[in-house]
């Protein structure tokens, strides 16, 4: 007897972590070797971001349920968000190297291959986590 209410939605084979982890790792390893302002770096981010954007807008990926509305306790998220926004905004408006923005602070770190690859990997997984929502 069919019991649709008990049927768990199963991810497609290609959408499972066992498949996505090596795919994202491969993209990250290539991306880590692509220097800033290069054609390869731009094309890789545009292509991978474009595919993930398209997947997120389509119904190809099973989405996890979200609460119907947020409780007042969600205001706790404003604490890190506001601190980040104020620091980033102030350093951006200041515009000096003495008080650098996050991207200027991150630049020397992201020049290293493994740091850049790790950042790529994190960016891809975070994008995937958003698609699932």
């Amino acid at each position: 007897m069919d019991r649709p209410e008990l049927a768990a939605e199963v991810d497609r084979a290609w959408a499972r972590p066992v498949v996505l982890t090596p795919v994202f790792a491969l993209i990250s390893l290539v991306g880590g070797a692509s220097p800033s302002f290069g054609l390869r770096a731009n094309l890789l981010v545009l292509a991978t971001g474009g595919v993930l954007f398209w997947l997120g807008m389509s119904a190809a990926v099973h989405r996890r349920p979200s609460p119907p509305r947020l409780s007042r306790r969600a205001a706790w998220w404003l604490l890190p968000l506001l601190l980040f926004g104020v620091v980033e905004g102030a350093t951006f408006l200041n515009g000096s190297q003495a008080y650098p923005t996050l991207s200027r602070l991150a630049d020397p770190v992201l020049e290293h291959y493994w740091a850049r690859s790790a950042a790529y990997f994190g960016w891809l997984w975070a994008f995937w986590a958003m698609i699932r929502r």
Binding site: G31, S34, S36, F37, G38, A41, N42, L44, V45, L46, T48, G49, G50, L52, F53, G56, M57, R64, P65, S66, P67, R69, L70, S71, R73, A74, W76, W77, L79, P80, L83, F84, V87, T91, S96, A98, Y99, P100, L102, S103, L105, A106, L110, R116, A119, Y120, W123, A126, F127, A129, M130, I131, R133
Partner: protein, 72 residues
């Protein structure tokens, strides 16, 4: 590294630490603080008519962030 750069670095690190702390608090049993994923899920459900503005904005922002840090 100058004192200014150190100060900014500490403030950004504090902000990231607070993100982690709120996420950990949200995952405790019986917590009424929603997780970051739940917050994103609610934001991404926002629509203007048939247009999923929340999803487009979140994906667009994340796409731009990757391009900004990893290609520029």
């Amino acid at each position: 590294m100058s004192a200014g750069q150190l100060l900014v670095g500490v403030l950004f690190t504090t902000s990231l630490g607070l993100f982690a702390a709120v996420e950990i608090a949200s995952r405790r049993e019986g917590s009424r603080v929603p997780s970051l994923g739940d917050v994103c899920g609610v934001v991404m459900r926002y629509r203007v008519g048939p247009l999923p503005v929340g999803r487009i904005a979140m994906f667009g922002f994340w796409w731009w962030l990757g391009w900004h840090f990893l290609a520029r």
